[in-house]
Structure formats: C-alpha cells, structure tokens
Symmetry: C2
C-alpha cells in the first residue's frame, strides 16, 4: 500500500542471531542511573541500592525451538521456564518472578493451553517462583512463548561474563551433550513414525537424555551449593548453545584465553554408546550440542579445594592471558575452539 522503504535486502542469515542482536543494539544508549548492566550478558541488571534486580527475556517459537510432534505441552511449559530461570542463576542470583506471554492459534483448545500452564506452574512450585503477569493473545500460526524472568543478585555475589582472570579454573556443572542426543533420538523416532505411523517409538533406555531434552532442569541447586561453599565465581554463563560457544563468550567478555581439556569434559556414559550408534563424536556433541542448561564458570585458583570433591562440579580447564579458546585434545594436541552453536550443527 505504501512504497517500500526497504530497497536494501540483507538476509538475516548473513548476520546470524548473535550478529543481528549486536548489530541492532550497537547504538543503544543507557541513561537511567539504575541500569547496572544492559544487553550482552545472561541477564540485565537494575541497581536497587543493596542488591541488583536481574531481568532476562527469552522467546520459544514453534518449529524453531520446539516440535510439538514429540514435545508434550506440559513439558514445553516447564522447559520454557527453565530456559529463563537459567539466565538468572547464571548471574549467581536467585530467580523470584516470571511473566509469561503466550501467542496461540485457535487450532489449540483451552485444554492445550491448560497443559502448558500446568508445566509452568509445576516449574514455579519447584523453583519457588511467583508467576506475576503476562499476556495471552491469538496467533495466526504457531505457538509462541515469551517469558521474562526476574531475580535478585546480592552485590558481592554477582558473576558476570566478564571477570575471568589469569590462572582461574574453568568449571562446569553436571554433564554435557545429553539434551542434544535426546533430540537425535526424538528426531529419529519421528522419521520412523512419519514413514510408518503404526510403529511405536523406541524410547526405552533413553530416559536420561530424553529428560535432558524434554524436561531440563536449571541449576538453582548449584547457586545454593556455591553459596554453601562460599565460592563466588569470577565469571559465569549458562550453557544454552553448547560449551564452545559459551567458553568463547566468557573469553571475549573477560579478555582472557580459555584452555579446555577434552578428557575432562563431563559426559554421561550413555552418550558414548549412543554416539557410536549415530556415528557422532562425543566431544563435538558436548562442545556444540546445546540446551543442557548447565552452568559454566570460573573460580579463583585458591577456591580449588572448596569445590574439588564435589560430584556436581568438574574442573575442565584454566584461564590464561591472551584471547580466544583452546581445546587440549586427548592426544595433547592444542586445537582452536570455534563457536559452533547447536543451530549450525543442524544445517
């Protein structure tokens, strides 16, 4: 109806998600005295005097972030909360509130939206979160969830992406690659089903990795553990896009070099068997798999004794002066780590 004002057409794919956000927000001007941290970390920070309020927003879009042919709606509700809480925990804070926006087409009945809310409410109950607001609206096509998590970070405990220092140790919680391998199983069984709808999906024995994909937990327990151990990470990020990508974020924000030992990366034994079956490399899966929602952080060398015996935490490397990140392979070769998000792997 009106003349196009877009004579130039640069495809979004040419920038990628991180590139696009960086491009769009490079001219952002912060003027509010209470803004302690803007775009570029897991959560933004508002200064409340004694403490910070941390805020993070994530959108989950049908067909991009989830596939309803194998993602139960209740799990989707649960996972969408986890994804957001994880960003608050990654600041070494406690998530307290969420708002939920849902855009839903009329192909969904009320009962479907109820199931999503069951998952959201279960997540809120387990993680002690209050659902305080939101928006429910029609959509002409898919289902979209947009959640904003709000939390509180005590000032002396704040862990940003920047802050890692020479000689710090690199630590990761839990194990990696499970969520990605769970997705492989689900995608395989979906193909089998599409070819023969009478076949029942073969999911037995894969409970752990399926749960990692369909019903991940965010690591509130690690934040409580660190508090108990009196350890404040020097830097922290959550692992949503894969270890490589997150290690590089910390290295870049902290202006140091990360060195990761391949043989230290925690991987569940079931992943090894499964990777053989799928003809995949376990390290690649752990480095690039994504969606594990574990925490990656650095601690000062003198805190080593406090965490070394903990089964939830694995020291996987160290920080030194420099830039970028290296993987020290099992045969002691040093390889440069490249960002290789989850999405790239699928292409």
């Amino acid at each position: 109806m009106f003349d196009s004002k877009n004579p130039q057409r640069t495809p979004i794919s040419s920038l990628g998600e991180f590139g696009l956000i960086e491009h769009l927000t490079k001219n952002t001007i912060l003027k509010q005295p209470s803004t302690a941290l803007g775009i570029g970390d897991d959560a933004a920070l508002i200064d409340q005097g004694e403490y910070y309020t941390a805020i993070s927003t994530d959108m989950l879009v049908e067909g991009i972030h989830f596939d309803l042919s194998y993602m139960p709606l209740k799990h989707l509700g649960y996972k969408s909360v986890m994804v957001n809480l994880s960003d608050i925990y990654a600041m070494n804070g406690m998530a307290q509130h969420i708002t939920v926006g849902i855009a839903v087409s009329n192909r969904f009945p009320v009962e479907a939206v109820e199931e999503i809310y069951e998952g959201i409410n279960l997540a809120c109950a387990r993680y002690n979160i209050d659902l305080i607001g939101g928006d429910t609206t029609a959509s002409h096509s898919g289902l979209i969830l947009s959640i904003t998590a709000v939390g509180r970070v005590e000032k002396p405990k704040l862990a940003k992406r920047s802050g890692a220092k020479n000689n710090d140790l690199v630590v990761v919680s839990g194990d990696l690659g499970g969520a990605y391998m769970g997705l492989q199983i689900l995608e395989r069984e979906k193909q089998v089903y599409l070819e023969n709808p009478d076949m029942q999906p073969e999911l037995n024995g894969h409970e752990y990795i399926l749960e990692r994909q369909l019903k991940p937990e965010s690591r509130k327990d690690i934040i409580e553990l660190l508090e108990g151990l009196e350890v404040v990470p020097t830097s922290m990020i959550d692992i949503s896009d894969g270890l490589s990508s997150e290690v590089l974020h910390l290295a870049k924000s902290s202006e140091v070099q990360f060195n990761i030992y391949e043989n230290k990366i925690p991987i569940d034994p079931s992943i090894f068997t499964l990777c053989e079956e799928f003809n995949m490399n376990t390290t690649t899966v752990a480095l690039s798999g994504g969606e594990d929602y574990e925490l990656l952080f650095t601690i000062a060398l003198e805190d080593h004794d406090k965490i070394k015996a903990n089964p939830n935490l694995t020291i996987i490397g160290y920080v030194k002066e420099g830039s970028g990140a290296h993987l020290i392979t099992r045969d002691e070769k040093v390889v440069e780590l490249k960002a290789q998000g989850f999405k790239h792997m699928e292409e």
Copy 2:
C-alpha cells in the same frame, strides 16, 4: 507421534482473552514475600522496600495486533513500546527499562528489523527508557514483538485498579475514539488499494487520527502533571480496550459503581464528522474503540479544584456505592455499560 492427551477440545474463543487468563491463572499461588501484586492489574509489583518495581509484558502479533500493509515498521516499533510503557504509567509510576523479544521470519531483511529498532530507540529516547535486554529469534510465519516494561512506583503514589471510593470523580486524559477511527480510514484505503493498486491512499486531513492509530503516545506527561498537582489517583487503568471495558475493570476491582456522562466523554471534533461519514455512533466509538492509550482514573472529591482547569483532563463521571457501570445519556437516560472491547466491534 504420541497419543493425544487432549480428548476435550474447548475452543479458546468460548472464554475470550480475559476469561482465558482468569481461567489459567486462578490457581496461581504467590509465595515470594516480595510479590506485592500479581496478575490482574496493569502491571505486577515487586516490593523493593522503599518503592515498588512495576513489571508488565505485552505481545504484539502480526495479523492480530497490526497489519504491515499499512503499519510502517518504525511506527510498529514505537507503538509496541508505548503499549507497554502505558501499563507502567497506569500504576502512577515511571517506566525506566524495557526488554524486547522479536520473532521474525526470513521474509524480513535485516533492514526491516533495523526499522523496527529505529522506532523502539526513538521511543526509548523520548520517554527516557533504557533498552536493557531481549531476544531475537527466527519465526516460521509472522512477526511477533514481546516487550516487557519495568518501572518504579513510589509507595505513597501507587494507583491500582482497586481503590476507587464512593463520591470519587472519574477522570480521563486526552480524547477517545481517535485510534479506532484511524484504523477505519486505514482499512478503507486498504480495500480501495486491493481493488485497484494504482489508486493512491486518501489520507489527507486525517493526520490526527492516523497518528493516534499508527504512532500513539503513552501518557507519561499525565503522571508528571499529577505529581505537579499533588494528586494521587485513588484508582487507575490505561485505556487499551475501550472506555467501557476499562470502566468496568475499575468498578469490579474497586467494588463500586461507576457513572459516566455521555456528554462529558472527550472526543476530538474530527471524529464527529468522520463518524457521520462511516455511519457510526461517536459514543460507541469512544466507549469501545480501544487503543487510545489514555489514562482513566478516579480522584477524591476534594482534589477537584486541583484538576478542574486542566485542558488535558476531563471529569466524565462519579463513583458511588454499588457495582457495575452506568452511562447517563445526553437525554438523561441511564443505560447499563457493557464491556465491548475493540475486538468484538470488528466481528
């Protein structure tokens, strides 16, 4: 792939938007001591000791909330911020921060997303807001914007939907119906264009109402004005769905009866001419039009003198004991007001 767990299929339309939200959140349990107000007002409130943090989330979905055939992307970005700030002002607070989530299909080039951000940045600059976070993601279909606004409300100034009292005066800012009539013009010209793409849209002379629809402002100035006048509204709401709907929200939350004089409702002179042309009733348009983003509030009778001379504010009625809302027509008949949102009018 898995058996459906939805044998019951209640259509969402049978509940409506407000009904659905009420249905979904009726079992919400609030446990955080800092939660001062949850779902059910313009914004949620988190207690920060001396003051409240107000938070509100709104989603704007292509084809539901906007039509890109006549909504310029820059205006869309601007309006999406206004819609959210308006909810913070409606608590008698000052908006300070926003996070922005955008889901965008690859039919949009980078330049299109840049235009949306130009509008967002302009809104932030004019309203002194910091853009502190967000999410940009792919979408398989339309464009979706999800914005969360965060603000600060001084405790003695808080104005909730509840709080209107017997003998209070009902006040509205600006004028009503403009945004809806702007939409009528745009829809008419779109039809003309679809029938004959060589025709140029006839928009001259309709600048005011087109701006009301395409580039509304939120009423930060009214919050500042009330502060200057030392008036704290006893209750307040923003007019997004139409005067009727908002009056009934205040009446229900405050457990009182609202009485509105038809001849006091502020309507721009251009609306009268246009309503004749479209064979519409101006009062119906003002009552049910929606999207004006003006503020509707009540004040104590003794504050009457402070606001009476102000050209930005119109006293349109009074509160008495009881329930529901009445319209006192030009010929002094008393009619019960029914909620008749903007969406219903289009059907």
